[in-house]
């Protein structure tokens, strides 16, 4: 049985979609973006024009709403195939190669999580968390040396209600937005909680 699986694996990869992009260079890029998102600066160069800024803001609004609606398949469609979702366990974020994170997913593990929630047997989300996100303080600037990619930072406040208990989660989001054909897609989302180093409650949905 086991050997059959292994043989099949060499023909068509057993683990789909393949995750060949999560290499050292990718981590290096994430760290560079992470530092840039959290830089203390008054001057961001490469601000988008009003039309593009509005388009990016719409994308983030839809991203938030789809999560609030638990529409995870549609939500993932907003992301590029080679994306990352990262919740650092410290503030500021450390290097995910050396430090544990609260969550770090490639597309495949995002699909795992979506599929798990979709079984209807993920008890930590039965009942599901209802959320409402507020985004504010949006800043957008071009990725250095690129005309098709932008970095975004904004604060978030998330009201959550589950099984009769209410919580408020807060912090800031960092995003990388990329032009893919006619559409804008998200290549990266970083969730910086106010208190990732303090004990967390049931965050088994997507932040």
């Amino acid at each position: 049985m086991k050997n059959d699986t292994a043989t099949a694996a060499s023909a068509a990869p057993r683990y789909q979609p393949a995750s060949n992009y999560v290499d050292d260079a990718f981590y290096g890029w994430l760290n560079e973006v992470s530092l840039d998102l959290d830089a203390v600066t008054t001057q961001r160069t490469g601000r988008p024009d009003a039309a593009l800024a509005a388009e990016i803001e719409r994308l983030l609004t839809v991203e938030s709403r789809l999560l609030d609606q638990h529409a995870y398949a549609e939500w993932l469609d907003l992301y590029t195939p080679e994306c990352a979702y990262w919740i650092p366990a410290t503030r500021p974020a450390g290097d995910p190669r050396a430090q544990i994170t609260l969550e770090f997913h490639d597309r495949r593990r995002l699909l795992d999580r979506v599929a798990r929630l979709g079984t209807g047997l993920a008890y930590s989300q039965l009942p599901a968390s209802r959320t409402a996100r507020q985004l504010s303080g949006l800043e957008i600037w071009a990725s250095p040396g690129r005309s098709d990619e932008w970095r975004v930072r904004c604060n978030f406040l998330m009201a959550e209600s589950r099984a009769g208990k209410r919580r408020v989660l807060g912090g800031w989001y960092g995003f990388v937005v990329r032009r893919v054909g006619d559409a804008l897609r998200l290549a990266f989302k970083q969730v910086n909680l106010l208190d990732p180093d303090e004990p967390q409650g049931n965050n088994s949905f997507f932040l």
């Binding site: 086991k2 699986t5 450390g94 490639d106 008890y123 049931n202």
Partner: protein, 444 residues
């Protein structure tokens, strides 16, 4: 033999609360029992504080806990470790308000008393206002009666009569050694950050589950179903018919237990069974390209958990490659610290893979466990007339048997784990231990 303090006179005995095959709900819900646990268990026996690698440099410090008692653990300039209470000798303020960092001394923010990083008082503002009687008193920060290390794992107890740490670990030491060996040896382990979770339940809900091989196909059904649907099975699927698996549960004495998953997890290849983590392909290609073929399996499997759930009573759980610590807060509140580990001898690729592997279960499985612990606690609170918690699985089947080494070995779904640790719990709770902290000058 009498009713235990601080339970009211005429209240039930420990033998009634803890029976061979069931335990009473109040041991989870009663604040007076919790208060006694903080003395008789979380002070009177060895409690795990932290791993030595969390204090790599002279001057490093970190906060740690013995139950609800808050401590500071430091490494001094001579590299010696010190453990003392986070409680000023003057009027009680905490002298340290940071979770960790570097400090050569601690100055109490309230009136400025100064302590060195061994907890020794060396400065009092306006000292002329104090007299001979005061100066004759021991005013250094309070130190637990005993502190000891086992291969980098730091433990403490307030009980001067507690047996040596190695005696306390007993038969668990061999499994701890094997866990350490999976990490490449004691000096090879480096703690690389922590995930922390708050649970609205008694701490024993967590300990109960740590040796529970029964719940997996039910509590983690979503994970098993997903893994099966997406990858044709894998990690933990051998729990589906656990009593017919090769896994075993051992009661190791003094409340320690272990679920040994290795016969199944490592039976073929633990790497092959592993759910695909981010970067799996890149890492595997890297190992195949850089490591001799004979060593490749060992290196790949080093990215995977050690294949045991080793439970050192009362607060240290080794699960996968993680060092999990239970911190009780009150009868209905607990913090869990999941410390991740990397290897000193590993390259970045292996350590990165270890991080992604150690993140998998917390979000994919532990969240469902945590939900069940909280709902267990809610169930116990919300209907007091239903008094008992059943812990009798395999109690009457004769399948828990003593082996030559004096351990008890049972099927992996046996509630032997609970019966074994509750026997220790009862012994400790019925005792009247001495608890001592010293404020005297450290002999140099």
């Amino acid at each position: 033999m009498n009713d235990p303090l601080p339970l009211a006179a005429g209240s039930p005995s420990w033998d009634w609360l803890i029976q061979d095959d069931r335990v009473h709900r109040t041991i989870y819900t009663d604040p007076s029992i919790f208060a006694r646990e903080m003395n008789n268990i979380f002070a009177a026996t060895w409690v795990y504080l932290l791993h030595e690698s969390e204090l790599p440099e002279p001057g490093d410090f970190r906060r740690a806990w013995m139950g609800t008692r808050e401590l500071i653990v430091t490494r001094d300039e001579a590299r010696a470790l010190h453990v003392f209470a986070n409680r000023c000798s003057h009027r009680g303020a905490t002298v340290c308000r940071e979770p960790g960092g570097k400090a050569s001394s601690f100055t109490c923010p309230y009136h400025g008393w100064k302590y060195d990083n061994r907890g020794q008082l060396f400065g009092i503002p306006g000292k002329t206002a104090y007299g001979a009687e005061f100066k004759a008193r021991d005013m250094h920060l309070a130190r637990p009666a005993q502190v000891a290390l086992y291969k980098g794992f730091v433990f403490a107890t307030l009980n001067p009569d507690a047996p040596p740490l190695e005696t306390h670990l007993g038969a668990a030491a061999r499994f701890l050694d094997e866990w350490i060996e999976h990490q490449g040896g004691a000096d090879n382990i480096v703690v690389g950050g922590a995930q922390r979770f708050h649970l609205e339940c008694n701490w024993k809900m967590v300990f109960d589950n740590a040796g529970d091989g029964y719940h997996v196909p039910f509590s983690h059904q979503s994970l098993l179903q997903m893994t099966n649907a997406r990858y044709g099975g894998g990690d933990m699927s051998y729990f589906a018919d656990a009593d017919r698996s090769r896994m075993k549960l051992y009661a190791l004495g003094n409340g320690h237990t272990v679920i040994d998953q290795r016969p199944d997890m490592y039976g073929n290849s633990a790497w092959e069974q592993q759910r695909p983590q981010p970067g799996r392909e890149v890492f595997e290609a890297h190992v195949r390209a850089t490591v001799a073929e004979a060593d490749a399996k060992r290196v790949l499997e080093s990215a995977v958990g050690a294949g045991m759930n080793l439970n050192i009573f009362p607060n240290l759980l080794l699960i996968g490659n993680q060092i999990q610590v239970i911190q009780p807060l009150n009868a209905g509140g607990t913090t869990m610290h999941w410390h991740a580990t990397r290897r000193r001898d590993a390259d970045d690729a292996l350590n990165t893979m270890r991080m992604r592997t150690q993140e998998d279960f917390p979000i994919m499985g532990e969240m469902d466990d945590a939900g069940n612990f909280e709902e267990c606690h809610r169930g116990l609170v919300n209907f007091p007339e239903d008094e008992w918690i059943d812990i009798s699985r395999h109690h009457e089947t004769g399948q828990d048997v003593a082996d030559e080494e004096g351990r008890i070995v049972g099927p992996v779904t046996s509630e032997l784990h609970l019966r074994a640790y509750y026997a220790q719990w009862k012994r400790l709770m019925a005792a009247e231990p001495t608890l001592r902290a010293s404020k005297s000058r450290i002999a140099r």
